[in-house]
Amino acid sequence: MSETIRTLSLIMVCAPLLGSILAGLFSKILGRKGSHRATIGLMLVSLGCAIAIWILVIFHGGSYVGTIYVWGLSGRYHFDIGFMIDNLTAWLMIVVTFVSTLVHIYSIGYMADDDGYTRFFCYMSLFTFAMLMLITANNFLQLYFGWEGVGLVSYLLIGFWYQKETAVFGSLKAFLVNRVGDFGFIIGIAAVLTYFNTIDYQTVFANAQRLFDANTTISVFPGTHWSVLTVICITLFIGAMGKSAQMPLHVWLPESMEGPTPISALIHAATMVTAGIFMLARMSPLFELSQTALTLVLVIGATGALFTGMVGVVQHDIKRVIAYSTLSQLGYMTAACGASAFAAGIFHLMTHACFKALLFLAAGSVITAMHHEQDLRKMGGLYKYMPITYITFLVGALALSAIPPFAGFYSKDAIIEAVHNSTIPGHTYSYYCVLFGSFVTALYIFRAFFLAFHGKERIPADTKKHLRESPWVMWVPLIALAIPSTVIGALLAYPLLYKANSLFGNSIFVLPKYDVLKGMAANYHGWFSYALHAFITWPFWFAVSGIFTAWFCCWYMPNIREVITRRIAWFYYILVKKYGFDDFNQIVFAHGGRRLGQFFYYVTDAKFIDDYLVNGSGRAIQWGARMVRRIQSGYLYHYAFAMIIGLLVFLGWLEITDTHIGLFKLLTSNYFTVE
């Protein structure tokens, strides 16, 4: 069976690559239709293989771990391309290929009149390939390859409309911020290679306990002794912070909304940004051994979950609201991993992939209908014109706000409960963050919902004439995503999270002392009673009050918003400024970097090297020549005098150095004296 899985995996990974090559290099031959047919066809092949692997792995207990070929050899190290197909990978590949296929189909409609049509499909398939490489990797280097691959495609796609200045700025920002994270990541991989002598997952995980017992320390800064495992975990987590947009490296994600909306759905919501969460879950055997790293993960995740969500409340761009929502939800997933509830984190990743892709695609549907208008202040009352988009957006919003029985409820509630039950330092602070976060989540998403679909129509008159429901290629994916957004929570919560032998198998490692999900399993009695139980829990009422607040402020009494904004102007200002992260980066890193460059250019290069060293040596020779010319007066007696001086110096030198035939001695000796 493992041979079958190996073959299927190869096809699954390579099909999108082939599609990308076809759409990218042969678009002239294939044409627009041919390109999207080829890529979508191959995506369907990939999806089929993923489903087949999933069935084999989940229901028949199959798995495959092995090397496909050796990529490079260097001394005693060897770098392989290989697959590690286990339960975790099987779930992830379903999510990736499913969302990716739907987004491919949706793009036919969304990108219909774009000049870069085939390029777009080429990039999307390339992205899917890189993402699949990332999740199927069996070693750190291949993980890094996929990691960088998705980063590259993300850069290309944010800057897809490269004539738009904000898009170029956004893509550059994303690339640079990710570079910071990736720098930490590669240091982590280097540390793994140094201390484990291999980058193969299985060997590393098998030896992690031994390294922990040996209590090996490393001195990162002089005078400090940190456990090697902690250092490895933290540096790897820095990589995850960049890719999964955790504070303070989250600044690139809102900017990435400059890209086309299907990309925001695929890359910046459903798949790529969850790579960090996947990595945390994959590295659970390492993270579990370092309480310090878990604390960091938990606190950073929880902080992001609350504070980035609050920024979403004041955004006017519909995509930006959802982008901040993504940041917040990524914070939830990270917090889950920090609380050792890796399964809950991955489960939320899966539900989030469905409902967030749904929200983005629904927003995209609104945006195309509004002729690329994204400002919520110019919408309102859209429910009459776009019923399907309206309903699907509502489903997504309910799922996001964790209202039972929608998918988000089961995953998010599990996370909040897991953080509550956690014993890791910092869990109290984190619990209040994620709890209050559920209020904020409901507030911002329903604020966007009511502003866009209800209330007074603020649509410009000429847009209104053309306002109608999007074509079927766009609403079919919406419905295809709305269904799992509704049901998978109820279906999968028990087998993934609470069952004694969960569907994640042994791909996720949790120490018994941190195992919070086990404790929660005792209180789980089926999806229906769990949903009913929600009515007596805090998170639910927080969410409901969020929805109520949004309804009150945006639909029932829209004018109250201005009053509130005036009352808490300072707080509003902080939120609009996004806590100053952007300004800080702009001033310190962008301007500071430019200043530093200018310093090196004007002072070190222009002044010191060019002026002092290069021109200076020329000037010194000129000056020396001018000085020497003065000696050359042209008068004979000067020359004669110089000769005599020279002779005297020569004789004097002889006198000093050679005492045997010294002139003075010769003169004073009585050798010549005649008797």
Binding site: R629, Y635, L636, Y637, Y639, A640, F641
Partner: protein, 101 residues
């Protein structure tokens, strides 16, 4: 008996005078030529003194050579001075600075 060193001192004094003459003379190029001759004479004095005290004839022979060469050199030098005067209408040393760099 006059000692060797007395002769050598005389030679040195003559030599020093001639140097002073070359360096301090600012006016006449003929004085310059005379100083050069004086320098040669100072050297000749040394040769004669050594030849006498060491009983070696070679020194005296050398003096003859030097005198001959000096005579020839003076002749050429004077000829050059005449030419210089014809060309530049002056033999003022301070005016002859065409070697200046």
């Amino acid at each position: 008996m006059i000692s060797l060193s007395s002769y050598l001192i005389l030679g040195a004094v003559l030599f020093g005078l001639s140097i002073a003459g070359i360096v301090l003379n600012r006016r006449n190029i003929i004085t310059l030529l005379m100083c050069v001759e004086l320098m040669l004479l100072a050297v000749n004095t040394n040769f004669i003194a050594f030849a006498h005290y060491l009983n070696d004839i070679a020194g005296e022979v050398f003096v003859f050579f030097i005198l001959t060469v000096a005579a020839a050199e003076t002749a050429i030098g004077l000829a050059i001075i005449v030419l210089v005067y014809r060309n530049r209408n002056t033999i003022d040393v301070a005016a002859l600075d065409s070697l200046k760099g």
